[in-house]
Amino acid sequence: MILIIDMNWKKDSLAYYEFVSPIASIAKSLDECTVKHHLKVTNKELSQCDMVILSGTALKDMATLSRLEKFQWLKETEKPVLGICAGMETIGMVYGMRLTRCLEIGMTLVNVVKENLLLSEGSKAYSLHSVCVEPSADFEVWAESTKCMQVIKHKTKPIYGVLFHPEVRNPELIKRFIQLNKTGA
């Protein structure tokens, strides 16, 4: 079962349709999935799921970055986690990465810098972010744009971050994450 965590500033927000529904639609085509808001998710749900996807948020929505206490489970979990945009930024901050200003809106060229299982080749991707995380010793960089890291993975844990929004023009990235961890490959 895939647990999708709604990262929007409040439960049942108007942004849910834009940032959570498209991910749920892709995930549901591959496996059973459930959606919970980040303020409501329980330890039981985190332990019962097979993997977790953290959604993105509206450009002005930085709520999760000031609620890091709600995401300390990211340090302990052994479950595969994919953080999208605000999800990646939140993962980064929980792991002590620094946040810097970095505005990218619209189609962005993303180059693969390390062979990896999520993004096989450079492609155009839809970006919508005003900040990014800086490199850290715990994470390796898999892909980047001219401005910042776009796809990262924890060096020893199955924790992934993608700064662009794969649900818009690169749904195969989400599908690969699910298939990779569903089969235990």
Partner: protein, 226 residues
């Protein structure tokens, strides 16, 4: 949150408005009237009817005419949104964008510049499901423009109902057209919707069509009780 809706009077912006009203406070409509029929950003048929729709919705409307040149219409849109922020103290903008990255990124950029939220509640929605939702919500929507083979003047003015959706889905199978007009194949005008306090009655219209391109132009209309 006080929001303004980018409103063209077609099915997508009207449905987007309904989503927004269910979650936040919609305080105005923002309409760009493009003088360019080939506008990159703005739906054009029956844009004059949006004033009547605004009245039916009991919402004030900010309108701005733009020559519709590619980037000029963006600065005109920015001015209109800026005016809405000033006059109605909106904190964000809602669009009816479904698939168009071109539209979405431009509105997002303007909102970022003006320090406003941007919401696209129909983003990435399945097109067939969107059409079905219009029927479930009892929208009355007519086809006001056709711009692709094999659509022609016979489609103009037709109401979107189950039979018409079925025909559009057939054309999707045969010719690859987008059933909801995402590729600009059709344009629509909403005559009634749940948030309308009154509905629109068309008193006079003309159709202008040539081959696979045509518009259903509403010349005269009025609001009547529902």
């Amino acid at each position: 949150m006080r929001l303004g809706v980018l409103f063209s009077g077609g099915k997508d912006s009207t449905l987007g408005l309904h989503y927004a009203k269910e979650k936040e406070e919609v305080v105005c409509l923002i309409t760009l009237i493009s003088e360019n029929k080939e506008s990159y950003m703005f739906h054009t048929p029956n844009i004059n009817i949006t004033a009547l729709q605004a009245e039916a919705l009991h919402l004030p409307q900010i309108t701005k005419t733009t020559p519709g040149e590619k980037e000029k219409e963006l600065s005109d849109l920015e001015e209109a949104i800026s005016e809405a922020a000033r006059k109605f103290r909106i904190k964000g903008v809602v669009t009816g964008a479904v698939e168009s990255v071109y539209q979405a990124e431009r509105v997002q950029s303007i909102c970022n510049k003006l320090d406003l939220w941007c919401f696209n509640p129909l983003w990435k929605r399945d097109q067939n499901a969107l059409l079905e939702e219009l029927l479930e919500r009892r929208f009355k929507v007519i086809i006001s423009g056709v711009f692709a083979y094999p659509l022609d003047e016979k489609w103009l003015g037709k109401q979107i109902d189950a039979a018409l959706i079925s025909k559009l889905l057939d054309l999707q199978q045969k010719y690859g057209i987008s059933p909801s007009g995402e590729g600009g194949e059709i344009e629509t005008t909403v005559l009634d919707a749940p948030q309308f306090k009154k509905k629109i009655e068309i008193l006079d219209h003309t159709t202008e069509a040539k081959g696979n391109s045509g518009v259903f132009k509403i010349n005269k209309a009025r609001l009547v009780e529902k």
